[in-house]
Symmetry: C2
Subunit: 245 residues, 2 copies
């Protein structure tokens, strides 16, 4: 841990997309931070940057961190892992340079910083050397639930959060052993996820949600969605049926 | 659905306890609402009311909804279910009276309104008759993660959210089939939960979190917590070990 003269890293959850779904604390810290860092696809402004547009002070230094590849390249390709690791190393170095110079850095994280986020990869690389404050955010999952007005779990329901990237048999097994499910990372996995839900007898209860809390929001029973086109961040929810006095 | 002259019900997530972890949207809607309703234990002010203390306008009507019983009476006792159902009916009627009179009602929900909340029981009773807007909040789970600085799930990890109220064998089975776990509703279930974690070989990785983001916050490896005393809203987290480029 460095001397207090080094800066502090803030991991700030931005919530599911609506700029008003930032917490009061995240807004305060973004406006106080001399450096604001965020992930973006190469060549784009990025969704995180878009979400904070109304909150950012013009005086802050913006530090965009551009992914080397899209999120949909096969995860088991060793080149993908190596490229991503190099990107996280370089990003951590950029941030460390500012922290070492005594400047606080606010690192933005869509959703919640510790729930399947890219923030975690930089956090693990910086947390031994610098002081860190994490401000939790509204998850994309909670954004989907609110948009769909779908209570997800009741009483003693077990809720499984399952990535759609899993093999179909692993998906189907999970679907059979819990009471409520949120399936994330839909994208090109939609046809497989649909088959797993059908196999587990859950297709009729499944709700498809795309871009929750944002302008282009789409909510529909999955059974009524006829194509298998979906963005990566789409989600499928199967609400639980637990105790309801 | 009533005519637009009736009021709108707002289900507002308050987050895990720190008043600054309300969203900007929840604060705006609380300050605009002519009626603010919240759950509380009989004879107490209640945690929800405490969280919004700094945000509430003195001009609003406060509508406290007092639980008839504590949350720790056995759930399988039929008298408990009947008493709770009567309480939810009465509460829904109180709110409906105000909505019917054309007044908006903000119903507060600790954490997120659609994630294991009491809000859902009133929502189900009111949603066919009145317009509803739900504002998602930071879950108690996200509050615990931030307080413990513990990333909960990585890459393709499956995360199970499991109530500690389940029988030990069901708990242990779930612990064996997922990669990361959040066990809620600890309270008097701690000894049983500890045994289930030990049985699944997860005791060493388990983190105990109590009153996250609040003043009396306690965070400790579960293995170092020597007693089995815990409040109902304590949580145990077993972080996943998934892909980390």
């Amino acid at each position: 841990m460095n001397a207090p003269s080094t800066g502090r890293l803030y991991g700030l959850g931005l919530g599911p997309g609506d700029p008003e779904l930032l917490t009061v604390k995240a807004v305060r810290l973004i406006q106080a931070a001399p450096v604001v860092a965020y992930f973006a696809k190469a060549g784009r402004r990025g969704n995180a940057r878009k979400i904070v547009d109304r909150w950012l002070r013009p005086s802050c230094e913006e530090l965009p961190l551009y992914y080397p590849v899209t999120t949909e390249i096969p995860f088991d390709d060793p080149r993908y892992v190596a490229e991503l690791a190099a990107f996280y190393e370089l990003s951590a170095k950029s941030i460390a340079a500012r922290l070492s110079a005594g400047r606080d850095v606010a690192l933005l994280s869509e959703g919640d910083p510790l729930f399947y986020s890219s923030f975690m990869h930089l956090f693990m690389r910086l947390k031994e050397r610098f002081r860190v404050t994490i401000v939790p955010g509204v998850t994309g999952l909670s954004g989907c639930l609110a948009a769909a007005q779908a209570p997800v779990a009741w009483g003693d329901d077990i809720l499984a959060v399952v990535p759609g990237t899993l093999p179909i048999l692993a998906l189907e097994q999970q679907l059979r052993t819990c009471n409520a499910v949120a399936i994330m990372k839909i994208g090109r996995n939609l046809a497989k996820v649909r088959a797993a839900l059908a196999g587990a007898g859950l297709l009729e209860r499944a709700i498809y949600v795309e871009r929750a809390t944002m302008e282009e929001e789409i909510i529909t029973p999955l059974a009524q969605k006829i194509d298998d086109e979906a963005p990566y961040f789409a989600m499928i929810i199967v609400p639980g049926m637990g105790r309801r006095p």
